[in-house]
């Protein structure tokens, strides 16, 4: 045990060098800062209404109703100019990004049951995610104007009619059902919320597995390159101890990196996500629905996810250790783990882009045969409570880990560790 701990400490010291930690932590800090800044910006924009400059040529009753309605969702500022040609200049001068011109025949056209055309203007100052949210304000303003004018016309022609009931004779009460529970709410909102909360999980899994594989393969290759491996192998320490110290050190560093990544990416994606959707105001309601339906990751769910990720990392480490044994130096270690990267990338993109249940049985079978698929499929199965699938995945990963760690130990116990090599350089003529 003493020798194992000594080796583990040595491996951790070799892996956790300032050259590796500093850039990694800096990148994560940048992610957190960007995420938090974007989130704050959206929150402040959500509480403040967008300003819309309006040039009203009509000034009739209907246009007043329309503007009153639009004022519910935007800050309406009346233009000083009366000339359409100077309207955009005034928008720029007053730094108002959105504008609406109501034509002189607006009320008349509406009353004559023909379409009135309002002109909308957007000026682009930037192309950020929050700018795209701002642009949707104009569509909402036009929708509100339409709604208000149509209500006005209905009441004008039939004062006793309730325009809202007339326009919406059928109302929908939406319910979402999952895990045997039914709660009132919109399925689109629930799906959007879950997607926003979990879409960073596969990214993290992918990064961590690839990172772990690269680390262990590089660690083995570096021992060869630095000519320390032969000394290490001649010491009175069992090869199993050497292999396990290397694997556990790389596993621990990977999990540490996973934690930092998870924190950084959650902040980043959370901030960017809310900037893209402007969902900060509604997130609270939807999260309540998601929680009521049991669709959020519980403590057990996080544990299951952690266990399957840990097994996945162990398997990746065992496979990468075998592949690393083929490399002669740290540089070639990056090349030899390509087959492992492919095995991680296929399920990563498949689960990200495809509906697995819609695949043909053959393709689904191939995907399930790739051990790393079960890591990416874990979260979508844990959330709806499909624990059996997750447990089978764990078992499969564990069995594959045992097989590969056995092979790795065999390689380290033989002289294959010194003699196996893949030469990527061109043969000299």
């Amino acid at each position: 045990m003493k020798k194992f701990l000594l080796l583990l400490k040595k491996e951790l010291r070799e892996l956790l060098t300032p050259q590796m930690i500093v850039p990694f932590v800096l990148i994560m800090v940048v992610f957190v800062v960007i995420g938090k800044t974007a989130g704050k910006q959206v929150a402040s924009q959500a509480s403040a209404q967008d300003e819309v400059l309006v040039l009203d040529h009509d000034t009739g009753q209907l246009s007043k109703i329309a503007l009153g309605s639009a004022g519910q969702i935007a800050k309406i500022t009346m233009a000083k100019t009366t000339n359409d040609a100077q309207f955009v200049s005034e928008m720029n001068k007053r730094q108002i990004a959105l504008g609406v011109i109501i034509p002189a025949d607006f009320s008349m056209s509406a009353l004559n049951k023909s379409n009135a055309t309002v002109k909308t203007y957007s000026t682009f100052k930037d192309f950020s995610l929050s700018a795209s949210k701002k642009s949707s304000t104009l569509s909402s303003v036009v929708m509100m104007i339409n709604d208000a004018v149509s209500n006005g016309l209905i009441q004008l022609n039939s004062p006793e009619t309730n325009p809202i009931k007339l326009k919406n004779p059928v109302l929908a009460a939406n319910f979402v059902s999952a895990n045997g529970k039914t709660v009132e709410g919109s399925s689109a909102a629930v799906l959007g919320y879950i997607s926003q909360q979990t879409n960073f999980v596969p990214v993290i899994l992918f990064i961590v597995i690839v990172f772990a594989a690269q680390m262990i393969a590089t660690a083995v290759a570096t021992e060869k390159e630095n000519k320390t491996l032969e000394t290490l192998l001649s010491l009175p320490v069992s090869r199993k101890t050497i292999v396990s110290a290397k694997m556990i050190a790389a596993g621990l560093v990977s999990l540490l990196m996973a934690g930092i990544y998870m924190h950084g990416m959650k902040n980043f994606i959370g901030g960017i996500g809310s900037a893209a959707t402007g969902s900060t105001t509604t997130g609270g309601n939807v999260s309540g629905i998601v929680y009521s339906l049991g669709l959020s990751l519980s403590a057990t769910g996080y544990l299951e996810l952690g266990v399957i990720l840990f097994l996945g990392i162990l398997l990746a480490l065992a496979m990468a250790m075998i592949l690393g044994a083929f490399s002669e130096d740290a540089k070639s270690a990056q090349s030899v783990i390509t087959p492992l990267m492919v095995m991680v990338m296929i399920p990563y993109f498949a689960t990200l882009l495809l509906d697995i249940n819609q695949l043909s049985p053959l393709l689904r079978g191939i995907l399930y045969a790739i051990p790393f698929s079960h890591i990416f499929l874990a979260a979508p199965n844990i959330i709806p409570g499909n624990t059996t699938f997750v447990l089978w995945g764990m078992l499969y990963l564990f069995v594959m880990f045992l097989i590969f760690v056995y092979v790795a130990a065999k390689i380290f116990s033989s002289d294959l560790i010194l003699t196996m090599k893949l030469n990527f350089s061109k043969k000299k003529s």
Partner: protein, 241 residues
């Protein structure tokens, strides 16, 4: 005197290439035995097999009664091995490296302390041991590596090209260290392509060429047998025949 190392019919093949072809030799306790020969003769391969890091294709290696092929882990408790191009963990200080190695060799805290003190004495680097190995010259690194190999006073020290690439002063110091260890009863198996160095260092030699031992004996015996003034001439005469 009791034999510490007995090598019988030792073979190593890589595919169709036979690197070592049925070699036999034995080394007595306290003896410095050298394998000499040109580059690619099979010296390092033989030493690696004795050090249990390469598996022989055939033959046996017995170190102090332990079969290296059958019980490699037990054999590793009796040896220390200095590879030809032994590298160091550059992030460690010289002292940190020796302490780490002492921890791996020793079974008790007392032994660990003893090994470390001995290694510090052998390498003679004084305050430079506080510096990182990455900042060491080749000679300093080699001294630390040698100190690592000799710190636990193994039954058999296996030193592959111990002075390879070193200047005259460093090479001389290292030779003196090896000689003094042998005087205190340690058995040493060395390899070198520098035959004059071996003449100064070893008690007996085996001349190896193309994977075969072509001559064995003490320096004096070989010189007399082949009427040569030094080992290089002995080797050249043997090659001609």
């Amino acid at each position: 005197m009791k034999n510490i190392l007995e090598v019988k019919n030792l073979c190593k093949s890589y595919g169709k290439f036979d690197a070592v072809k049925r070699i036999n030799f034995s080394v007595a306790q306290g003896e410095i035995f050298a394998l000499i020969g040109p580059n690619g003769a099979g010296k390092s391969t033989t030493l690696k097999m004795v050090a249990s890091i390469l598996q022989p294709t055939d033959g046996s290696i017995i170190i102090d009664g332990v079969d290296v092929v059958r019980e490699p882990e037990a054999a590793r408790h009796k040896i220390s091995y200095l590879p030809e191009e032994a590298g160091a963990y550059k992030n460690l200080t010289g002292r940190g490296y020796l302490q780490f190695m002492a921890g791996l060799y020793a079974e008790t805290k007392a032994d660990e302390k003893k090994y470390l003190e001995r290694a510090i004495e052998i390498c003679g680097l004084g305050r430079r041991l506080k510096d990182k190995l990455g900042a060491y010259s080749k000679g300093m690194t080699r001294k630390v590596m040698l100190a690592r190999a000799l710190m636990k006073e193994p039954k058999l020290a296996i030193l592959d090209e111990a002075t390879s690439g070193l200047d005259v002063i460093n090479a001389l110091e290292i030779r003196d260290i090896i000689k003094s260890c042998a005087k205190s009863g340690m058995t040493v198996l060395v390899s070198s392509h520098n035959m004059l160095e071996i003449e100064y260092l070893s008690d007996r030699v085996a001349i190896i060429d193309q994977g075969k031992i072509i001559e064995t004996g003490s320096i004096a015996e070989l010189k007399k047998r082949h009427q040569a003034e030094n080992l290089e001439v002995v080797f050249l005469k043997l090659r001609k025949t």
